[in-house]
Symmetry: C2
Subunit: 371 residues, 2 copies
């Protein structure tokens, strides 16, 4: 057994001993899922057939680009676009290609759609490797955000390759060689840079901001691997707009954190604050007004999702997972799984936000609150 | 012993038994202060010389005027202005007139300034009665909000009379008779109304909104005493603007709650949302920008207070109280107590918000956060 194998096994056994591992069945496979960070083993780590697939690590965020780059990164760094989607790890188990969510569940949607998203030849040549990617687009079942350049359905953007039993990732040059060799769709990247090229990087982020794109990841490899992320004011505005429709259900500090990011972004890049102020006020009050109107008209406020599957039973599996993972106690209401003309199946469902519904309904009805 | 006496004594003894009472010394007096709600005894209740001064009760808030009035109040109600200040209870103990904060501390500022705020003749005639009032104005030491119609210093607005050992209040007619008889300054009131006069009440609240005033209290006496409050969109906007300068130190839900109140206000009264959206965005981003600018220039963000005393030793007592009651761990920095030409003493101090300072300073320095 290699050192990384025994270290992965020990880490996972520790998580088991701490009661942090649960057993999952997926289509005849038995998997173990680590449901919390345990030491260096991230939440979402998986064990299958004695091997460990590490959870994807957290990436720190800087809110000020200039000082952030000089303080957090020592050497040159690789500059990559941050895509506004959900994180998956794609791996072959027992001959089957599966996509895992950040939390360590098999994602039936991504798994179903893998043939549309990438060429599996990579895994034929490298069966022990794991591809890490963001899946994004308006047809995804996990989040209502979507990059502006994806008009429908979803796309996949690879950004890392690791392998079973390893907590680290391939260096950028090896990663890019493999992504190109197998024509895997990758996150847009702008090559190597450093903190001295601040003006260029600031221009890049302002361009992304103009386009409503999310931001950048800066990846350093020496003296030690380290990444930081930095996002645009516009994507924070959009987060606020979407989330304001369900304000009572959002976690504490959600809005304050994003408003702070916008203020720091505007100040650092010397942007005219007025259009952002107007957009922020509109995002908050407009979204709430929409929710109140929906509540008064339909007696409930909810958010519709539509996503497309190759196989009907995968849509059913996603439904089962959505209902199993209540994510802040959101209620999932299934509207149906219907065949499309093109051979796909269309799942329509909605997320209902319980606090938003109950609190606003209560208040609209003349309810009293003590604060 | 009357029934109310023994019931007050029992309630206070229960709070003592539960470890919820602390002993305070003030200028030679020994007082007991209840530091949490215990059954029907509110936090801030006081015992002195065997008698109990009940804490001021919480008043519920409606966020929708029309339904709120019909749902929460049964009969006619008395309509009074809600003044944006701090709550005091004024009582005579051992021959001395003292003002208590909502939390049950003697307020050295209010107590010092009582000769400027009201005529004590009321207490000569009614030594066992307690006057409940709001003290408001830019020269107060407790909150940075102030009604727009008070240009300097502070004013007092009485709204209730109770007495030692009693949890209830005088009926409106007796209250008003006494307030007039002793020329005590009172909250503006508009007499009796009911839910059928909604249009009139809505017009009243829109007027207060235009003037930047806080809102209304509706007080019902039959079939049982009950009050509700309803506030304007503008005062919520102002709360947001002031508090956004110290956003990281504000409690969870602070901003969300106020934004929701504004959205409901605009919708109910059919107001054009656009100026409010602009003002809201400006309040949030402008205030943060001010704080960031202050931090970068002065290396700290803080809020200045100036208040005026008749006696220097009362300013010193307030300083001691401010430093004893850290209120969310805010740091108090005293700038000095100086004589004014008119015989008063001027206390200048500032409140420094620790999370705002540490978080923003860290972020401006390029700090990393994980979220």
């Amino acid at each position: 057994m290699t050192q990384s194998e025994s270290s992965a096994r020990e880490a996972f056994d520790r998580a088991v001993a701490q009661g942090r591992v649960e057993r999952l069945e997926y289509d005849g496979l038995t998997l173990e899922r680590c449901n919390d960070d345990v030491g260096h083993l991230p939440r979402g780590s998986i064990r299958a057939a004695g091997r460990v697939l590490y959870g994807y690590p957290h990436i720190g965020r800087i809110l000020v680009l200039r000082r952030g780059l000089t303080e957090q990164l020592a050497g040159p760094f690789h500059v990559e676009e941050k895509i506004n989607g959900y994180n998956v790890r794609i791996a072959r188990i027992d001959g089957r290609l599966l996509a895992f969510t950040r939390g360590g569940f098999v994602c039936p949607f991504t798994t179903d759609r893998l043939p549309d998203l990438l060429d599996p030849a990579f895994f034929d040549a490298h069966p022990d490797k794991v591809l890490c990617a963001e899946v994004a687009g308006p047809g995804n079942p996990w989040l209502d955000a979507s990059p502006p350049f994806i008009e429908r359905d979803v796309r996949l953007f690879a950004f890392d390759i690791t392998e079973w039993n390893r907590a680290d990732f391939l260096p950028v040059n090896e990663l890019q060689t493999l992504l190109e060799e197998f024509a895997l769709p990758a996150v847009p990247a702008w090559g190597w840079s450093d903190a001295e090229h601040y003006d260029e990087l600031a221009a890049r982020i302002l361009e992304l901001n103009e386009q409503g794109r999310e931001g950048l990841i800066f990846r350093q490899e020496t003296p030690r691997p380290r990444r930081v992320k930095y996002v645009t004011a516009r994507v924070n505005l959009e987060d606020i707009q979407r989330s304001a429709t369900r304000m009572p259900d959002m976690p504490a500090g959600y809005f304050a954190g994003r408003i702070l990011r916008i203020a720091l972004f505007l100040q650092e890049h010397g942007l005219d604050a007025q259009p952002y102020e107007e957009a922020l006020g509109q995002a908050l009050l407009g979204a709430l007004d929409d929710t109140l109107t929906q509540l008064q008209r339909e007696r409930r406020a909810s958010q519709p999702f539509t996503c497309r599957f190759r196989e009907r039973h995968n849509a059913e599996r996603l439904v089962a997972l959505l209902q199993r993972v209540p994510g802040h106690k959101v209620k999932i209401v299934i509207h149906g799984i219907e065949p499309e003309a093109n051979g796909y199946w269309r799942l329509r469902f909605e997320r209902r936000y319980p606090l938003t519904n109950s609190l606003l309904y209560e208040l609209l009805g003349g309810g009293l609150i003590y604060d």
